[in-house]
Symmetry: C2
Subunit: 229 residues, 2 copies
Amino acid sequence: MGKVDYNLLWGEAARAGRGRPPGLSRERIVAEAVAIADAEGLQKVSMKHLAERLGSGVMSLYRHVPGKDELVVLMYDSLMAGPLPLPEADHWRDVLRHWGLGVRDLFIAHPWALTVATSERTMGPGEAGWVDAVLGRLSAVGLPAELGLIAVLTVDCFALGAVRPEIGSAGGDTDFFQFLADPAARARFPDLARLVAPGSASGASMEDYFEFGLDRVLDGLERFIESRH
Amino acid sequence: MGKVDYNLLWGEAARAGRGRPPGLSRERIVAEAVAIADAEGLQKVSMKHLAERLGSGVMSLYRHVPGKDELVVLMYDSLMAGPLPLPEADHWRDVLRHWGLGVRDLFIAHPWALTVATSERTMGPGEAGWVDAVLGRLSAVGLPAELGLIAVLTVDCFALGAVRPEIGSAGGDTDFFQFLADPAARARFPDLARLVAPGSASGASMEDYFEFGLDRVLDGLERFIESRH
DNA sequence: GCTAATTAGCGTACCTCATACGCCAAATTG
DNA sequence: CAATTTGGCGTATGAGGTACGCTAATTAGC
């Protein structure tokens, strides 16, 4: 929600010298919060609930995390610090395709993360390293740095936008295209209805659509990159 | 946050016959909430604040809106019910390009909307009509319906993802790439640093980047569509 | 070992916010 | 002018975030 201190993400971790040794740690808190969000949703991540899980008092958390908003930001950046979807491919297009699908998998595995990603925020070290790793790989397979950067951002933007209708549909709780179940709505928006028609569950076809769009984006990038050679 | 009733968005508005005439209306409430969110941010939209603006009691709002979550959904859908960025172009590519830029403008004008767009939700009538209008225009300029649908969704997905770094940068409060102000960070992520380098403010270059990516997406769609003729 | 300094854990109190409930007011229908 | 219906809203409740300050545990210096 509110503003989050830049130093929270990028600042040095002040080392502890003397004094009482910590039982909690920022890492443990963030990891547990992510576990709760994955299992029960982001709105179930309350300081109270989190403290119970960790077997500590509520206010103890504030020794390691400035507040709730900051915790959410840390949760998000911790995702990006994990393993990267980088294949052993030797063509930039394969690298980017694999990476785009990996981004999709990440946001489907952590549905709460998409909301965080699209909130007003600052890029953290995890995310920066994430992007940096892909740029490095693209560079290794011969794509010039300036082309790699725009290619990665384009694919990333598409993936972020395109994964949206898939989230929620998976759980079955909230279907993004629920209104199309009504025949009257299908009659009013016949073109939209076609999207969901093939596999009535709508979940399966969305994945196909994601790949289709991704391939179109890669086509567009390919045309541009080839014109530069 | 929570689940929102499907009927809230798509249900018929029950007409009032007798009884006390309403002083408030759902439309007024939603419009005022949007005004607050635009001016002060979504987190400042509280039932209390909203009621003060409307000169009514807090609980009066609940006669017209089931709750806060539902209000936010209605706010979002009301944006989509507004005027559409549809040009008088006679080529599908121009239509989609103009539309993509219009989507970008919309989310920059209403920064809070992006978070709502990417939350778990159901498509409402405003948004469905929005998509439907573009499909109709594309159809009118000769693009087959099935191609129009995937083209619109692809462009929409890209626009949604790509506008993200621009939000917040505009206000100057929270810069998405704030960490690149630090020379050490620029040294660590030189490729990323290049993105912001040209216009040090980073805002101007992001718009150029949006258009670049959009054109790549359109290129990819063009290749696919031409291969179908 | 003793004391001072330092840092962690956490109970209490407070504030904000959404909202269930119920009463009253204002209009229509007969 | 009742009876009915619908809207406005005050009060109370409960959840959630967090400022404050006390206590506990540990180390550094003596």
